[in-house]
């Protein structure tokens, strides 16, 4: 390999490393079931980052920061949590009827800068970035990356108390309830960025079970001016929904990136 090629290859690798979420790896939460009946049902949930959607083959999802929010909006403890080689798993007891949101939200600030001709990288909390970068650093690039990964489960009739948006980053505001999805009816959702409708954002909708199919179905849907997008489900199954926005740095303010991922189950009629 010539030295010019070698430099190009290294540069390409570096740019890959800098991308917040490499395209090939998908992060997901996978509930064992989403629609439950009975007095106090339990749900088991897996979480991982993998190459093949819903097959744990790469990295477990870290459980610190993962929460289950009950129908009344209060946090419900995770039980029997464990992190293995390829996936994390935990149970949630649905003690009250209604809808539970299981969510992991991260807010990570990343910086790169040059000092003494050497490129340095840093990641941490937004509050620490000012002290983390030396005063004499050049080529400073800072981005703030907010990401949410969610799934939903319901005991009895669906409710909306757990689904209130936080107003931070990209979020899904259900128009169709995420635990009331069937193959014959379209699902409608509103994508929000910092609590406001996110217009013109591409949403990817992928059906699980890809190992047994040559391809897809994978849908790409653009949100309308009101942030709303509509999904005509090709068939029943477990679906993975993803959207992302990348902002440009604005003066000294860091670039604001946000990503949203949800797993929803679409049942047969």
């Amino acid at each position: 390999m010539s030295s010019a090629l070698r430099i190009a290859a290294v540069a390409a690798l570096l740019s890959l490393a800098a991308a917040p979420a490499a395209q090939a790896h998908r992060a997901w939460l996978l509930p064992g079931s989403t629609v439950l009946s009975g007095a106090e049902p339990w749900v088991t949930v897996d979480g991982a980052i993998s190459n093949t959607l819903f097959y744990a083959d790469h990295q477990p999802m870290r459980l610190d920061g993962l929460k289950a929010i009950g129908p009344d909006g209060t946090e419900v403890p995770l039980q029997n949590a464990s992190t293995g080689k390829y996936r994390s798993t935990f149970d949630v007891k649905l003690a009250q009827p209604g809808t539970y949101k299981i969510v992991t939200a991260t807010d990570m600030t990343m910086a790169s800068y040059k000092i003494g001709g050497e490129t340095k990288r840093w990641r941490g909390a937004a509050a620490d970035v000012a002290t983390a970068i030396p005063k004499d650093a050049t080529d400073v690039q800072v981005s703030r990356n907010v990401r949410r990964i969610e799934t939903f489960v319901t005991s009895g009739a669906p409710s909306t108390g757990a689904l209130k948006p936080t107003g931070k980053g990209l979020e899904l505001e259900p128009i169709t309830h995420p635990n009331d999805l069937v193959a014959s009816e379209k699902g409608r959702f509103r994508l929000l960025l910092d609590g406001k409708p996110a217009a013109g954002v591409e949403v990817e909708v992928v059906l699980g079970g890809v190992r047994y199919r040559a391809k897809g179905p994978e849908l790409k849907i653009m949100t309308g001016g009101d942030g709303v997008f509509e999904v005509a489900w090709p068939e029943a199954g477990m679906y993975w929904i993803e959207a992302g926005v990348r902002g440009a740095p604005n003066g000294s303010a860091p670039a604001q990136n946000a990503a949203y991922i949800a797993t929803v189950e679409v049942l047969p009629d």
């Binding site: 629609v35 439950l36 009946s37 009975g38 007095a39 669906p158 009331d180 049942l267 047969p268 009629d269």
Partner: protein
């Protein structure tokens, strides 16, 4: 009108059949055949009977046959497997409910009649009687049999299932 309403409420509370009130003599009889299946592991199906409008919104659940004998109402865990009924009606009901809940039935033909208060307040119009069966380690099937209410004469309509249900017939009589 007031009499009808009162009668309906009283019956809902007591859950028992009462003497017919004027205009409530009509009845609806459903025959459901649960097929005998030659499978390694057989469990009696859960079955729900409900009335729905032509647009498939549920009007009323008439009967739910499930495992009512388990301790702590554990049989309710699998009510959601009757997916269509669960989404349209079951998830908003409190079960067990008097006059609605009943134990699962063995393979064979089962005939149930509904009259008086169970049908009180059913507005005149076209409906379907829906039957859904879901079996543990088995399948699920939904059948719909149309009927009009109130009946102007004795009428029977039928449907036949292919997997979890056999012949289903609905007879309405004035």
């Amino acid at each position: 009108m007031r009499i009808l309403k009162f009668s309906g409420l009283a019956l809902a509370a007591s859950g028992a059949a009462a003497s017919p009130t004027v205009g409530q003599a009509a009845d609806l009889t459903v025959s459901v055949e649960i097929p005998k299946l030659n499978v390694a592991e057989y469990h009696r199906p859960y079955v729900a009977l409900w009335i729905e409008k032509p647009d498939q919104t549920a009007v009323r659940t008439l009967a739910v046959w499930y495992d009512t004998k388990l301790k702590a109402n554990e049989g309710a865990t699998w009510l959601k497997d009757m997916r269509t009924w669960w989404r349209r009606a079951g998830r908003s009901l409190n079960l067990p409910a008097d006059g609605v809940s009943g134990p699962t039935k063995a393979p064979g033909r089962h005939v149930v009649s509904f009259s008086g208060g169970q049908l009180a307040g059913l507005a005149p119009g076209d409906y379907a009687l829906s039957v859904e069966a879901a079996r543990e380690v088995g399948g699920r099937e939904v059948l719909r049999v149309p009927f009009s209410w109130p009946p102007r004469g004795a009428k029977t309509a039928t449907a036949t299932g292919s997997t979890e249900l056999g012949a289903v017939s609905v007879t309405v009589k004035p």
